[in-house]
Symmetry: C2
Protein backbone atom coordinates (compact mmCIF):
# COMPACT_ATOMS: atom_id res chain seq x y z
CA UNK A 1 0.00 0.00 0.00
CA UNK A 2 1.42 3.33 -1.05
CA UNK A 3 1.87 5.87 1.70
CA UNK A 4 1.44 9.56 0.99
CA UNK A 5 4.34 10.52 3.24
CA UNK A 6 6.74 8.29 1.28
CA UNK A 7 5.97 10.11 -1.95
CA UNK A 8 5.90 13.56 -0.37
CA UNK A 9 9.35 12.83 1.06
CA UNK A 10 10.68 11.64 -2.29
CA UNK A 11 9.34 14.70 -4.09
CA UNK A 12 10.89 17.08 -1.55
CA UNK A 13 14.23 15.28 -1.61
CA UNK A 14 14.28 15.27 -5.43
CA UNK A 15 13.59 19.00 -5.52
CA UNK A 16 16.31 19.71 -2.97
CA UNK A 17 18.99 17.63 -4.67
CA UNK A 18 18.05 19.03 -8.10
CA UNK A 19 18.68 22.46 -6.62
CA UNK A 20 22.03 21.24 -5.29
CA UNK A 21 21.09 22.23 -1.74
CA UNK A 22 21.93 20.62 1.56
CA UNK A 23 19.51 19.39 4.21
CA UNK A 24 21.07 21.94 6.54
CA UNK A 25 20.42 24.84 4.18
CA UNK A 26 16.79 23.94 3.48
CA UNK A 27 16.06 23.06 7.12
CA UNK A 28 17.45 26.41 8.28
CA UNK A 29 15.41 28.34 5.73
CA UNK A 30 12.23 26.37 6.54
CA UNK A 31 12.89 26.76 10.28
CA UNK A 32 12.66 23.05 10.92
CA UNK A 33 15.32 20.85 12.46
CA UNK A 34 17.69 19.01 10.16
CA UNK A 35 16.57 15.72 11.70
CA UNK A 36 12.91 16.50 11.07
CA UNK A 37 13.52 17.36 7.42
CA UNK A 38 15.63 14.26 6.96
CA UNK A 39 12.90 12.05 8.44
CA UNK A 40 10.23 13.70 6.27
CA UNK A 41 12.34 13.20 3.15
CA UNK A 42 12.83 9.51 3.98
CA UNK A 43 9.09 9.05 4.57
CA UNK A 44 9.62 8.24 8.21
CA UNK A 45 7.66 11.16 9.58
CA UNK A 46 4.38 12.78 8.53
CA UNK A 47 5.00 16.45 7.85
CA UNK A 48 2.40 18.67 9.47
CA UNK A 49 0.56 20.84 6.96
CA UNK A 50 2.20 23.95 8.40
CA UNK A 51 5.75 22.60 8.17
CA UNK A 52 5.08 21.15 4.72
CA UNK A 53 4.24 24.69 3.62
CA UNK A 54 7.43 26.00 5.20
CA UNK A 55 9.55 23.37 3.46
CA UNK A 56 7.86 24.05 0.12
CA UNK A 57 8.52 27.77 0.52
CA UNK A 58 12.17 27.11 1.38
CA UNK A 59 12.44 25.07 -1.82
CA UNK A 60 10.47 27.64 -3.84
CA UNK A 61 7.89 25.01 -4.73
CA UNK A 62 4.15 25.32 -4.96
CA UNK A 63 2.48 22.81 -2.67
CA UNK A 64 -0.02 22.11 -5.45
CA UNK A 65 2.79 21.04 -7.78
CA UNK A 66 4.23 18.74 -5.13
CA UNK A 67 0.82 17.13 -4.61
CA UNK A 68 0.29 16.63 -8.34
CA UNK A 69 3.67 14.87 -8.48
CA UNK A 70 2.74 12.77 -5.44
CA UNK A 71 -0.63 11.87 -6.98
CA UNK A 72 1.09 10.86 -10.22
CA UNK A 73 3.51 8.57 -8.39
CA UNK A 74 0.77 7.01 -6.25
CA UNK A 75 -1.42 6.46 -9.30
CA UNK A 76 1.33 4.34 -10.85
CA UNK A 77 0.91 1.88 -8.00
CA UNK A 78 -2.87 1.90 -7.67
CA UNK A 79 -5.00 -0.95 -8.89
CA UNK A 80 -6.76 0.24 -12.01
CA UNK A 81 -10.54 0.24 -11.89
CA UNK A 82 -11.69 -2.60 -14.11
CA UNK A 83 -14.65 -2.06 -16.40
CA UNK A 84 -16.65 -5.03 -17.57
CA UNK A 85 -17.14 -4.89 -21.31
CA UNK A 86 -19.82 -7.10 -22.85
CA UNK A 87 -18.22 -8.18 -26.12
CA UNK A 88 -21.47 -9.84 -27.15
CA UNK A 89 -23.37 -6.57 -27.11
CA UNK A 90 -24.83 -5.59 -30.46
Amino acid sequence: MELMRTHIGSALRAARTTQGRTLRDVARQARVSLGYLSEVERGQKEASSELLNSICMALNLNLSSVLVEVATQIKLHETPVLTVVDTNAA
Copy 2:
Protein backbone atom coordinates in the same frame (compact mmCIF):
# COMPACT_ATOMS: atom_id res chain seq x y z
CA MET B 1 -1.79 30.07 3.87
CA GLU B 2 -3.61 27.00 2.63
CA LEU B 3 -3.22 23.88 4.71
CA MET B 4 -3.19 20.47 3.07
CA ARG B 5 -5.22 18.92 5.89
CA THR B 6 -8.05 21.44 5.37
CA HIS B 7 -8.44 20.42 1.75
CA ILE B 8 -8.01 16.70 2.39
CA GLY B 9 -10.77 16.95 4.98
CA SER B 10 -13.08 18.82 2.62
CA ALA B 11 -12.51 16.30 -0.16
CA LEU B 12 -13.23 13.36 2.14
CA ARG B 13 -16.34 14.99 3.58
CA ALA B 14 -17.63 15.87 0.10
CA ALA B 15 -17.17 12.28 -1.06
CA ARG B 16 -18.91 10.90 2.02
CA THR B 17 -21.92 13.21 1.81
CA THR B 18 -22.21 12.66 -1.96
CA GLN B 19 -22.45 8.96 -1.17
CA GLY B 20 -25.13 9.71 1.42
CA ARG B 21 -23.13 7.99 4.14
CA THR B 22 -22.77 8.77 7.81
CA LEU B 23 -19.58 9.47 9.73
CA ARG B 24 -20.39 6.38 11.80
CA ASP B 25 -20.65 4.12 8.76
CA VAL B 26 -17.41 5.30 7.14
CA ALA B 27 -15.51 5.37 10.43
CA ARG B 28 -16.54 1.79 11.18
CA GLN B 29 -15.54 0.56 7.74
CA ALA B 30 -12.20 2.41 7.89
CA ARG B 31 -11.61 1.18 11.44
CA VAL B 32 -11.04 4.66 12.80
CA SER B 33 -12.97 6.33 15.60
CA LEU B 34 -15.88 8.55 14.67
CA GLY B 35 -14.20 11.46 16.47
CA TYR B 36 -10.98 10.97 14.51
CA LEU B 37 -12.78 10.94 11.15
CA SER B 38 -14.80 13.99 12.13
CA GLU B 39 -11.67 15.91 13.10
CA VAL B 40 -9.92 14.90 9.87
CA GLU B 41 -12.92 16.01 7.80
CA ARG B 42 -12.97 19.39 9.55
CA GLY B 43 -9.22 19.86 8.96
CA GLN B 44 -8.50 19.80 12.67
CA LYS B 45 -6.29 16.72 12.62
CA GLU B 46 -3.61 15.51 10.23
CA ALA B 47 -4.57 12.07 8.97
CA SER B 48 -1.66 9.64 9.08
CA SER B 49 -0.84 8.17 5.69
CA GLU B 50 -2.03 4.75 6.85
CA LEU B 51 -5.40 5.99 8.11
CA LEU B 52 -5.84 8.19 5.05
CA ASN B 53 -5.55 5.04 2.96
CA SER B 54 -8.09 3.27 5.17
CA ILE B 55 -10.56 6.15 4.86
CA CYS B 56 -10.10 6.30 1.08
CA MET B 57 -10.73 2.56 0.84
CA ALA B 58 -13.86 2.86 2.97
CA LEU B 59 -15.09 5.57 0.59
CA ASN B 60 -13.99 3.59 -2.49
CA LEU B 61 -11.76 6.47 -3.56
CA ASN B 62 -8.32 6.37 -5.08
CA LEU B 63 -5.88 8.36 -2.94
CA SER B 64 -4.41 9.77 -6.16
CA SER B 65 -7.79 11.24 -7.13
CA VAL B 66 -8.19 12.81 -3.70
CA LEU B 67 -4.74 14.39 -3.99
CA VAL B 68 -5.45 15.75 -7.46
CA GLU B 69 -8.62 17.37 -6.08
CA VAL B 70 -6.66 18.74 -3.11
CA ALA B 71 -3.95 20.10 -5.43
CA THR B 72 -6.59 21.77 -7.60
CA GLN B 73 -8.18 23.47 -4.61
CA ILE B 74 -4.83 24.61 -3.19
CA LYS B 75 -3.75 25.93 -6.59
CA LEU B 76 -6.78 28.25 -6.63
CA HIS B 77 -5.34 30.01 -3.59
CA GLU B 78 -1.66 30.07 -4.53
CA THR B 79 0.06 33.22 -5.67
CA PRO B 80 0.74 32.84 -9.38
CA VAL B 81 4.37 32.94 -10.42
CA LEU B 82 4.90 36.30 -12.10
CA THR B 83 7.03 36.45 -15.23
CA VAL B 84 8.73 39.70 -16.16
CA VAL B 85 8.11 40.55 -19.79
CA ASP B 86 10.31 43.16 -21.44
CA THR B 87 7.89 45.00 -23.70
CA ASN B 88 10.79 46.96 -25.22
CA ALA B 89 12.42 43.82 -26.53
CA ALA B 90 12.79 43.76 -30.29
